[in-house]
Protein backbone atom coordinates (compact mmCIF):
# COMPACT_ATOMS: atom_id res chain seq x y z
CA UNK A 1 0.00 0.00 0.00
CA UNK A 2 2.92 2.30 0.72
CA UNK A 3 3.76 2.98 -2.94
CA UNK A 4 0.16 4.09 -3.60
CA UNK A 5 0.36 6.52 -0.70
CA UNK A 6 3.52 7.91 -2.23
CA UNK A 7 1.79 8.36 -5.58
CA UNK A 8 -1.03 10.24 -3.85
CA UNK A 9 1.36 12.85 -2.41
CA UNK A 10 3.72 13.06 -5.33
CA UNK A 11 2.38 15.51 -7.89
CA UNK A 12 4.39 16.85 -10.82
CA UNK A 13 4.65 20.19 -9.12
CA UNK A 14 7.81 21.38 -7.36
CA UNK A 15 7.36 22.22 -3.68
CA UNK A 16 10.09 24.37 -2.04
CA UNK A 17 12.31 22.45 0.35
CA UNK A 18 11.30 24.40 3.46
CA UNK A 19 7.58 23.76 2.81
CA UNK A 20 7.80 20.00 2.15
CA UNK A 21 6.63 19.07 5.65
CA UNK A 22 3.72 21.48 5.71
CA UNK A 23 2.18 21.22 2.26
CA UNK A 24 0.69 18.24 0.52
CA UNK A 25 -0.24 18.67 -3.12
CA UNK A 26 -2.26 16.20 -5.08
CA UNK A 27 -4.49 16.25 -8.12
CA UNK A 28 -8.27 16.02 -8.06
CA UNK A 29 -8.11 12.82 -10.07
CA UNK A 30 -5.79 11.17 -7.60
CA UNK A 31 -7.77 12.02 -4.49
CA UNK A 32 -11.06 11.15 -6.21
CA UNK A 33 -9.79 7.79 -7.41
CA UNK A 34 -7.97 7.06 -4.17
CA UNK A 35 -11.14 7.50 -2.13
CA UNK A 36 -13.23 5.62 -4.69
CA UNK A 37 -10.86 2.68 -4.89
CA UNK A 38 -10.89 2.30 -1.11
CA UNK A 39 -14.65 2.01 -0.73
CA UNK A 40 -15.73 -0.43 -3.41
CA UNK A 41 -18.75 -2.19 -2.01
CA UNK A 42 -19.48 -5.55 -3.61
CA UNK A 43 -22.94 -6.89 -4.17
CA UNK A 44 -24.04 -9.80 -2.01
CA UNK A 45 -24.70 -12.63 -4.36
CA UNK A 46 -22.99 -15.78 -5.51
CA UNK A 47 -23.88 -18.26 -8.19
CA UNK A 48 -21.88 -21.45 -7.60
CA UNK A 49 -18.79 -22.91 -5.97
CA UNK A 50 -16.72 -19.71 -6.49
CA UNK A 51 -19.12 -18.04 -4.07
CA UNK A 52 -17.74 -20.27 -1.30
CA UNK A 53 -14.26 -18.89 -1.95
CA UNK A 54 -15.76 -15.40 -2.01
CA UNK A 55 -17.31 -16.06 1.42
CA UNK A 56 -13.94 -17.31 2.68
CA UNK A 57 -12.36 -14.10 1.38
CA UNK A 58 -15.01 -12.01 3.09
CA UNK A 59 -14.36 -13.68 6.45
CA UNK A 60 -11.87 -12.59 9.10
CA UNK A 61 -8.88 -14.56 7.83
CA UNK A 62 -8.48 -12.64 4.56
CA UNK A 63 -10.51 -9.64 5.67
CA UNK A 64 -11.40 -7.44 2.67
CA UNK A 65 -12.09 -4.67 5.21
CA UNK A 66 -8.41 -3.88 4.73
CA UNK A 67 -9.41 -2.69 1.24
CA UNK A 68 -12.67 -1.08 2.38
CA UNK A 69 -14.61 -3.86 0.66
CA UNK A 70 -16.19 -5.64 3.61
CA UNK A 71 -19.66 -4.16 3.16
CA UNK A 72 -21.52 -6.65 0.98
CA UNK A 73 -24.64 -4.79 -0.04
CA UNK A 74 -27.78 -6.85 -0.65
CA UNK A 75 -29.16 -4.12 -2.95
CA UNK A 76 -27.78 -3.21 -6.38
CA UNK A 77 -28.54 0.47 -5.66
CA UNK A 78 -25.88 0.57 -2.96
CA UNK A 79 -23.26 -1.63 -4.62
CA UNK A 80 -20.29 -0.57 -6.76
CA UNK A 81 -18.94 -3.95 -7.68
CA UNK A 82 -20.58 -7.05 -9.03
CA UNK A 83 -18.60 -10.22 -8.46
CA UNK A 84 -19.88 -12.85 -10.88
CA UNK A 85 -18.86 -15.75 -8.65
CA UNK A 86 -19.70 -18.95 -10.43
CA UNK A 87 -21.35 -20.61 -13.39
CA UNK A 88 -23.83 -18.34 -15.16
CA UNK A 89 -26.77 -20.38 -16.38
CA UNK A 90 -29.00 -19.17 -19.18
CA UNK A 91 -31.85 -18.96 -16.70
CA UNK A 92 -29.82 -16.64 -14.45
CA UNK A 93 -28.55 -14.23 -17.13
CA UNK A 94 -31.68 -12.01 -17.35
CA UNK A 95 -31.58 -11.44 -13.60
CA UNK A 96 -27.86 -10.62 -13.64
CA UNK A 97 -28.27 -8.13 -16.47
CA UNK A 98 -31.24 -6.56 -14.69
CA UNK A 99 -29.20 -6.23 -11.49
CA UNK A 100 -26.34 -4.69 -13.47
CA UNK A 101 -28.71 -2.14 -15.00
CA UNK A 102 -30.00 -1.28 -11.54
CA UNK A 103 -26.54 -0.60 -10.15
CA UNK A 104 -25.65 3.07 -10.02
CA UNK A 105 -22.58 4.39 -11.82
CA UNK A 106 -19.65 4.01 -11.32
CA UNK A 107 -20.05 0.25 -11.41
CA UNK A 108 -17.53 -2.50 -11.92
CA UNK A 109 -17.77 -6.17 -12.73
CA UNK A 110 -15.33 -8.92 -11.76
CA UNK A 111 -15.65 -12.27 -13.53
CA UNK A 112 -14.42 -14.67 -10.88
CA UNK A 113 -13.32 -18.10 -11.99
CA UNK A 114 -13.24 -19.97 -15.25
CA UNK A 115 -17.03 -20.35 -15.60
CA UNK A 116 -17.84 -16.66 -15.31
CA UNK A 117 -14.96 -15.66 -17.60
CA UNK A 118 -15.36 -18.18 -20.38
CA UNK A 119 -17.76 -20.95 -19.48
CA UNK A 120 -15.23 -23.17 -17.75
CA UNK A 121 -15.77 -26.93 -17.85
CA UNK A 122 -19.40 -26.30 -18.83
CA UNK A 123 -18.45 -24.24 -21.89
CA UNK A 124 -20.46 -26.30 -24.33
CA UNK A 125 -23.27 -27.12 -21.94
CA UNK A 126 -26.80 -26.57 -23.21
CA UNK A 127 -27.77 -24.46 -20.20
CA UNK A 128 -24.63 -22.43 -19.53
CA UNK A 129 -23.53 -19.01 -20.79
CA UNK A 130 -19.90 -19.24 -21.89
CA UNK A 131 -18.65 -15.99 -20.44
CA UNK A 132 -20.66 -13.24 -18.79
CA UNK A 133 -18.79 -10.72 -20.97
CA UNK A 134 -21.17 -11.67 -23.79
CA UNK A 135 -23.84 -9.70 -21.92
CA UNK A 136 -22.26 -7.16 -19.58
CA UNK A 137 -18.87 -5.41 -19.71
CA UNK A 138 -16.32 -7.07 -17.42
CA UNK A 139 -13.46 -5.10 -15.84
CA UNK A 140 -11.30 -7.82 -14.30
CA UNK A 141 -11.09 -11.53 -15.08
CA UNK A 142 -9.72 -13.86 -12.41
CA UNK A 143 -8.80 -17.30 -13.73
CA UNK A 144 -8.88 -20.38 -11.53
CA UNK A 145 -11.35 -23.07 -10.70
CA UNK A 146 -12.10 -21.69 -8.19
CA UNK A 147 -9.66 -18.83 -7.54
CA UNK A 148 -8.24 -19.07 -4.03
CA UNK A 149 -9.03 -16.21 -1.61
CA UNK A 150 -5.61 -14.73 -2.28
CA UNK A 151 -6.22 -14.85 -6.04
CA UNK A 152 -9.51 -13.00 -5.50
CA UNK A 153 -7.74 -10.38 -3.39
CA UNK A 154 -5.19 -9.98 -6.17
CA UNK A 155 -8.12 -9.44 -8.54
CA UNK A 156 -9.41 -6.73 -6.20
CA UNK A 157 -6.01 -5.04 -6.29
CA UNK A 158 -6.02 -5.23 -10.10
CA UNK A 159 -9.43 -3.55 -10.06
CA UNK A 160 -8.12 -0.83 -7.73
CA UNK A 161 -5.30 -0.18 -10.18
CA UNK A 162 -7.84 0.20 -12.95
CA UNK A 163 -9.93 2.60 -10.86
CA UNK A 164 -6.86 4.66 -10.02
CA UNK A 165 -6.01 4.92 -13.69
CA UNK A 166 -9.33 6.56 -14.59
CA UNK A 167 -9.72 10.31 -15.04
CA UNK A 168 -12.60 12.42 -13.80
CA UNK A 169 -12.72 14.25 -17.15
CA UNK A 170 -13.19 11.16 -19.29
CA UNK A 171 -15.29 8.80 -17.15
CA UNK A 172 -18.65 8.08 -18.80
CA UNK A 173 -20.81 8.78 -15.75
CA UNK A 174 -20.16 12.55 -15.79
CA UNK A 175 -20.98 12.95 -19.47
CA UNK A 176 -24.17 14.58 -20.61
CA UNK A 177 -27.17 12.47 -21.46
CA UNK A 178 -28.32 9.17 -20.10
CA UNK A 179 -26.35 6.00 -20.51
CA UNK A 180 -28.09 3.24 -22.35
CA UNK A 181 -29.29 0.28 -20.34
CA UNK A 182 -28.18 -3.13 -21.46
CA UNK A 183 -31.09 -5.04 -23.02
CA UNK A 184 -32.23 -7.85 -20.77
CA UNK A 185 -31.89 -11.17 -22.60
CA UNK A 186 -34.97 -13.34 -22.86
CA UNK A 187 -34.81 -17.05 -22.20
CA UNK A 188 -35.85 -18.73 -25.44
CA UNK A 189 -37.68 -22.03 -25.84
CA UNK A 190 -35.92 -25.22 -24.79
CA UNK A 191 -34.17 -27.24 -27.45
CA UNK A 192 -36.14 -30.26 -26.31
CA UNK A 193 -39.79 -29.81 -25.53
CA UNK A 194 -40.87 -32.29 -22.84
CA UNK A 195 -44.30 -32.53 -24.43
CA UNK A 196 -42.69 -34.16 -27.45
CA UNK A 197 -40.90 -36.84 -25.43
CA UNK A 198 -43.15 -39.58 -26.80
CA UNK A 199 -42.44 -38.50 -30.37
CA UNK A 200 -38.67 -38.32 -29.77
CA UNK A 201 -38.67 -41.78 -28.15
CA UNK A 202 -40.56 -43.13 -31.11
CA UNK A 203 -38.04 -41.70 -33.59
CA UNK A 204 -35.07 -42.85 -31.52
CA UNK A 205 -36.38 -46.42 -31.29
CA UNK A 206 -36.49 -46.75 -35.10
CA UNK A 207 -33.51 -48.55 -36.63
CA UNK A 208 -31.23 -46.07 -38.42
CA UNK A 209 -31.89 -45.68 -42.12
CA UNK A 210 -28.76 -47.02 -43.85
CA UNK A 211 -29.91 -46.85 -47.44
CA UNK A 212 -27.89 -44.83 -49.97
CA UNK A 213 -30.59 -42.18 -50.28
CA UNK A 214 -30.34 -41.40 -46.57
CA UNK A 215 -26.51 -41.46 -46.59
CA UNK A 216 -25.95 -39.08 -49.45
CA UNK A 217 -26.91 -35.73 -47.88
CA UNK A 218 -24.75 -36.56 -44.86
CA UNK A 219 -21.62 -37.03 -46.94
CA UNK A 220 -21.99 -33.64 -48.64
Amino acid sequence: MSNEAVSLHNPDYPVPEELRHNIAITTLDRIYNWSRARSVWPMLFGLACCAIEMIATAAARYDPARFGMEVMRPSPRQADLMIIAGTVTKKMVPQIVRLYNQMSEPRYVIAMGACASGGGPFKEGYSVVDGIDKFIPVDVYIPGCPPTPQALLQGFITLHEKIEGQSITTVPWYRKGEGEAIPVPVLGPDLIDPRQTALIRNVASQPPDTSDAAQEPATD
Binding site: M1, A60, R61, Y62, D63, R66, A111, A114, S117, G118, G119, G120, P121, F122, K123, G131, D133, V138, D139, V140, Y141, I142, P143, G144, C145, P147, T148, Q150, A151, L153, Q154, G155, I157, T158, K162
Partner: protein, 203 residues
Amino acid sequence: MYGLGIIKGLGITIKHFANTYVEDFKQGIKRYTAEDRFTARQGLEAQGLFTVQYPEEKIAVPERFRYIPFLVVNDDDHPDAPGQPWCTSCGICSKVCPPQCIWIVRSTDPETGRPKPEPQEFYIDIDICMNCGYCAEFCPFDAIKMDHDYEISSYDRTSAHIYDLQKLTKPLSYWRTIAPTRAEEERTAREAKEAAKAEKAKK
Protein backbone atom coordinates in the same frame (compact mmCIF):
# COMPACT_ATOMS: atom_id res chain seq x y z
CA MET B 1 -23.69 -40.16 23.02
CA TYR B 2 -24.66 -37.93 20.13
CA GLY B 3 -23.03 -34.56 19.54
CA LEU B 4 -19.65 -35.47 21.03
CA GLY B 5 -17.92 -34.71 17.73
CA ILE B 6 -19.50 -31.28 17.55
CA ILE B 7 -18.29 -30.45 21.07
CA LYS B 8 -14.78 -31.67 20.19
CA GLY B 9 -14.78 -29.55 17.05
CA LEU B 10 -15.93 -26.48 18.92
CA GLY B 11 -13.17 -27.17 21.47
CA ILE B 12 -10.57 -26.94 18.68
CA THR B 13 -12.08 -23.65 17.53
CA ILE B 14 -12.00 -22.24 21.07
CA LYS B 15 -8.42 -23.43 21.48
CA HIS B 16 -7.37 -21.56 18.33
CA PHE B 17 -9.24 -18.49 19.51
CA ALA B 18 -7.60 -18.55 22.95
CA ASN B 19 -4.16 -19.31 21.49
CA THR B 20 -4.32 -16.19 19.35
CA TYR B 21 -4.23 -14.08 22.51
CA VAL B 22 -2.18 -16.33 24.79
CA GLU B 23 0.65 -16.60 22.27
CA ASP B 24 0.59 -12.84 21.81
CA PHE B 25 1.25 -12.36 25.52
CA LYS B 26 3.94 -15.03 25.54
CA GLN B 27 5.89 -13.84 22.53
CA GLY B 28 5.18 -10.13 22.75
CA ILE B 29 6.34 -7.78 20.03
CA LYS B 30 8.67 -10.44 18.57
CA ARG B 31 5.70 -11.89 16.76
CA TYR B 32 5.45 -8.82 14.55
CA THR B 33 9.08 -7.77 14.26
CA ALA B 34 11.13 -10.98 14.10
CA GLU B 35 12.72 -12.13 10.85
CA ASP B 36 10.42 -15.13 10.39
CA ARG B 37 7.28 -13.38 11.59
CA PHE B 38 5.17 -14.37 8.57
CA THR B 39 5.90 -18.07 8.89
CA ALA B 40 5.52 -17.87 12.67
CA ARG B 41 2.02 -16.47 12.23
CA GLN B 42 0.87 -18.30 9.09
CA GLY B 43 2.96 -21.48 8.94
CA LEU B 44 1.93 -25.01 9.83
CA GLU B 45 3.36 -24.74 13.37
CA ALA B 46 1.55 -21.46 14.02
CA GLN B 47 -0.55 -21.08 17.13
CA GLY B 48 -3.72 -19.04 16.84
CA LEU B 49 -5.37 -17.48 13.81
CA PHE B 50 -4.39 -14.25 12.16
CA THR B 51 -5.59 -12.19 9.27
CA VAL B 52 -3.39 -12.66 6.21
CA GLN B 53 -2.17 -9.21 5.22
CA TYR B 54 -2.32 -10.35 1.61
CA PRO B 55 -0.18 -8.20 -0.68
CA GLU B 56 2.59 -7.91 1.91
CA GLU B 57 2.24 -11.36 3.41
CA LYS B 58 1.25 -14.43 1.43
CA ILE B 59 0.28 -17.84 2.75
CA ALA B 60 2.67 -20.43 1.41
CA VAL B 61 0.76 -22.79 -0.84
CA PRO B 62 1.18 -26.54 -0.23
CA GLU B 63 3.37 -28.51 -2.57
CA ARG B 64 0.39 -30.34 -4.07
CA PHE B 65 -1.39 -27.08 -4.81
CA ARG B 66 -2.83 -26.96 -8.34
CA TYR B 67 -3.51 -23.97 -10.50
CA ILE B 68 -2.85 -23.57 -14.23
CA PRO B 69 -0.66 -26.22 -15.94
CA PHE B 70 2.75 -25.41 -17.40
CA LEU B 71 5.21 -27.22 -19.66
CA VAL B 72 8.60 -28.32 -18.36
CA VAL B 73 11.70 -27.60 -20.46
CA ASN B 74 15.39 -28.17 -19.78
CA ASP B 75 17.26 -25.50 -17.90
CA ASP B 76 19.34 -23.01 -19.86
CA ASP B 77 22.56 -24.50 -18.46
CA HIS B 78 21.68 -28.07 -19.54
CA PRO B 79 24.82 -29.64 -21.11
CA ASP B 80 23.23 -31.29 -24.17
CA ALA B 81 19.97 -29.57 -25.02
CA PRO B 82 19.26 -26.28 -23.24
CA GLY B 83 15.63 -25.22 -23.46
CA GLN B 84 14.56 -28.55 -24.93
CA PRO B 85 10.86 -29.19 -24.13
CA TRP B 86 10.07 -32.50 -22.48
CA CYS B 87 6.73 -32.67 -24.23
CA THR B 88 6.66 -35.12 -27.14
CA SER B 89 3.22 -33.94 -28.30
CA CYS B 90 1.77 -37.43 -27.79
CA GLY B 91 -1.58 -35.81 -26.98
CA ILE B 92 -2.45 -37.88 -23.91
CA CYS B 93 -3.05 -34.75 -21.83
CA SER B 94 -5.46 -33.31 -24.37
CA LYS B 95 -7.31 -36.63 -24.50
CA VAL B 96 -7.74 -37.01 -20.73
CA CYS B 97 -8.53 -33.33 -20.15
CA PRO B 98 -12.17 -33.44 -18.93
CA PRO B 99 -13.19 -29.98 -20.21
CA GLN B 100 -11.01 -30.35 -23.38
CA CYS B 101 -9.00 -27.15 -22.97
CA ILE B 102 -5.67 -28.33 -24.46
CA TRP B 103 -4.83 -27.96 -28.15
CA ILE B 104 -1.58 -29.40 -29.51
CA VAL B 105 -0.06 -29.28 -32.98
CA ARG B 106 2.79 -31.71 -33.56
CA SER B 107 5.81 -30.30 -35.36
CA THR B 108 7.16 -31.92 -38.53
CA ASP B 109 10.69 -32.18 -39.78
CA PRO B 110 10.98 -29.71 -42.69
CA GLU B 111 13.39 -31.97 -44.62
CA THR B 112 11.78 -35.37 -44.39
CA GLY B 113 8.21 -34.25 -43.66
CA ARG B 114 7.97 -36.74 -40.82
CA PRO B 115 6.48 -35.84 -37.43
CA LYS B 116 8.95 -34.78 -34.77
CA PRO B 117 8.35 -35.55 -31.07
CA GLU B 118 8.03 -31.89 -30.16
CA PRO B 119 5.05 -29.57 -29.93
CA GLN B 120 4.86 -26.85 -32.58
CA GLU B 121 1.89 -25.19 -30.93
CA PHE B 122 0.47 -25.83 -27.50
CA TYR B 123 -2.54 -23.90 -26.26
CA ILE B 124 -4.39 -24.04 -22.97
CA ASP B 125 -7.52 -21.93 -22.58
CA ILE B 126 -7.37 -21.13 -18.87
CA ASP B 127 -10.98 -19.99 -18.97
CA ILE B 128 -11.93 -23.61 -19.56
CA CYS B 129 -9.25 -25.33 -17.46
CA MET B 130 -10.71 -26.67 -14.21
CA ASN B 131 -7.35 -27.20 -12.46
CA CYS B 132 -8.00 -30.93 -11.99
CA GLY B 133 -4.40 -31.93 -12.70
CA TYR B 134 -5.27 -34.96 -14.85
CA CYS B 135 -2.86 -33.78 -17.55
CA ALA B 136 0.03 -33.79 -15.07
CA GLU B 137 -1.16 -37.12 -13.64
CA PHE B 138 -1.28 -38.87 -17.01
CA CYS B 139 1.76 -37.38 -18.76
CA PRO B 140 4.23 -40.26 -19.32
CA PHE B 141 7.18 -37.86 -19.69
CA ASP B 142 6.59 -35.62 -16.63
CA ALA B 143 6.37 -32.79 -19.14
CA ILE B 144 3.24 -30.99 -17.92
CA LYS B 145 2.94 -29.88 -14.31
CA MET B 146 0.55 -27.80 -12.24
CA ASP B 147 1.78 -24.30 -11.49
CA HIS B 148 1.46 -22.52 -8.13
CA ASP B 149 1.12 -19.01 -9.54
CA TYR B 150 -2.37 -17.72 -8.78
CA GLU B 151 -1.76 -13.99 -9.32
CA ILE B 152 -2.87 -13.92 -12.93
CA SER B 153 -5.97 -11.72 -13.05
CA SER B 154 -6.22 -9.53 -16.14
CA TYR B 155 -8.35 -6.88 -17.86
CA ASP B 156 -8.94 -8.77 -21.10
CA ARG B 157 -9.48 -12.47 -21.47
CA THR B 158 -9.15 -12.85 -25.21
CA SER B 159 -5.56 -11.62 -25.21
CA ALA B 160 -4.38 -12.83 -21.81
CA HIS B 161 -6.21 -16.05 -21.06
CA ILE B 162 -5.24 -18.29 -23.95
CA TYR B 163 -1.81 -19.53 -22.97
CA ASP B 164 0.49 -20.39 -25.85
CA LEU B 165 3.76 -22.32 -25.89
CA GLN B 166 5.82 -19.30 -24.88
CA LYS B 167 3.59 -18.47 -21.91
CA LEU B 168 3.31 -22.08 -20.73
CA THR B 169 7.00 -22.94 -20.90
CA LYS B 170 8.91 -22.94 -17.62
CA PRO B 171 12.30 -24.47 -16.81
CA LEU B 172 12.78 -27.61 -14.74
CA SER B 173 14.51 -25.61 -12.02
CA TYR B 174 11.23 -23.75 -11.46
CA TRP B 175 9.41 -27.03 -10.88
CA ARG B 176 12.18 -28.07 -8.49
CA THR B 177 11.70 -24.90 -6.45
CA ILE B 178 7.91 -25.07 -6.19
CA ALA B 179 7.67 -28.84 -5.57
CA PRO B 180 11.05 -30.14 -4.33
CA THR B 181 9.77 -33.46 -2.90
CA ARG B 182 7.81 -34.48 -5.96
CA ALA B 183 10.54 -33.40 -8.36
CA GLU B 184 13.01 -35.57 -6.42
CA GLU B 185 10.60 -38.53 -6.43
CA GLU B 186 10.12 -38.22 -10.17
CA ARG B 187 13.86 -37.95 -10.76
CA THR B 188 14.60 -41.18 -8.83
CA ALA B 189 11.74 -42.97 -10.64
CA ARG B 190 13.11 -41.88 -14.03
CA GLU B 191 16.65 -42.97 -13.15
CA ALA B 192 15.46 -46.36 -11.93
CA LYS B 193 13.53 -46.83 -15.15
CA GLU B 194 16.53 -45.95 -17.29
CA ALA B 195 18.79 -48.27 -15.28
CA ALA B 196 16.33 -51.14 -15.80
CA LYS B 197 16.25 -50.35 -19.51
CA ALA B 198 20.05 -50.40 -19.75
CA GLU B 199 20.13 -53.70 -17.84
CA LYS B 200 17.67 -55.21 -20.31
CA ALA B 201 19.66 -53.96 -23.29
CA LYS B 202 22.84 -55.53 -21.91
CA LYS B 203 21.18 -58.94 -21.75
